[in-house]
Symmetry: C2
Subunit: 196 residues, 2 copies
């Protein structure tokens, strides 16, 4: 709780978030982060004491942010399909902004991540899964373990963005064309998951 809030602490966090989760420089050193933020390296220690604490802070921020917005989608008062469309929209925006956040999570799961993951609320997810089961009974989506439905949804959303740098090379697609491909997926995923 700083008395004079100069915004430097937040600026450092934002910069670190951009470097790691947007640009994919997962091994960025404290020096690189400080340089990118235009502050002295000691300022990082002044605010966060250690690199690990800074990283933990930005990861927690990002997860908090995303999971809250997803929870809002999941417990909203709309139809299952409308909810799913919102989830897709929210998640896709997040993935476009921070494509490396999930990769970071996977690589650091064994070390930093352990505690952070347990913070994820699972109640909204459970209620969303229940609704999926109802839809399966109604026949609007194919019958399967609802967990499969969720895995399918997030697979189709996340993976192409995680692999974007590879796919651009492999398919020889420009950044602009790839962006268009990704945008197309919003309705493609819906039409793949829903029968009607």
């Amino acid at each position: 709780m700083p008395l004079k809030n100069t915004g430097t602490e937040q600026h450092i966090k934002d910069t670190a978030k951009r470097l790691l989760f947007a640009e994919g420089k997962l091994h960025a050193t404290t020096q690189e982060i400080a340089d990118a933020a235009g502050v002295n390296r000691t300022a990082l220690h002044y605010y966060f004491r250690s690199r690990d604490l800074l990283i933990a802070a930005i990861f927690q921020d990002a997860m908090q942010d995303l999971s809250q917005r997803l929870n809002e989608c999941m417990i909203s008062d709309e139809s299952f399909k409308a909810k799913t469309e919102k989830i897709i929209s929210v998640f896709l925006k997040h993935m476009i902004a921070f494509p490396y956040q999930e990769t970071f999570l996977v690589t650091e799961m064994n070390t930093l991540g352990k505690n952070l993951i347990t913070n994820i609320q699972s109640d909204p997810v459970k209620s969303y899964l229940k609704e999926a089961a109802v839809e399966m009974e109604k026949g609007t989506i194919e019958k399967m373990n609802p967990i499969h439905f969720l895995m399918n949804l997030f697979s189709l959303l996340s993976y192409p963005l995680i692999m974007a740098p590879l796919y651009k090379k492999l398919f020889r697609v420009s950044g602009k064309d790839f962006k268009e491909l990704i945008e197309e997926r919003e309705r493609l995923i819906i039409s793949l998951l829903f029968k009607q």
Copy 2:
């Protein structure tokens, strides 16, 4: 090219592959790799000169291995659906054995990966994509940019395994149950991608 082939070089590679790509210890030090292989750290330098060269070697091996098997599926003499089933089977086996290899690729794309990716043959992929387009005309799969079809396929295959540690916690599923879930996906993915 050792005169007496004692298998130590291969053993080191296999161990490194297991540590990094199977167990996900992507930051394993030369000491840790040597210990896991039961050899002296000097032996690593004796065979590979540097950590980077060792890593590059195992990554190239693994990519070579996988892409060759996938290419065989893609250019085989079977129906499109049969090919796709084989691709799923081959890729799933690989992902189960080395779930962290793709994550490693993503994190190291900017440094080591640059050269390695260009080695990927894209001709079999191109011919597979053409066949997909034919199937779309026939109506056996939904009409879309064939690149979407391929992205969908690999998304549905890869992502759940990349995220396995997270999903197990999130859904509170045991390793055994999760393995069953993954095995179910083999036919689930087919039924999702093919209309008939």
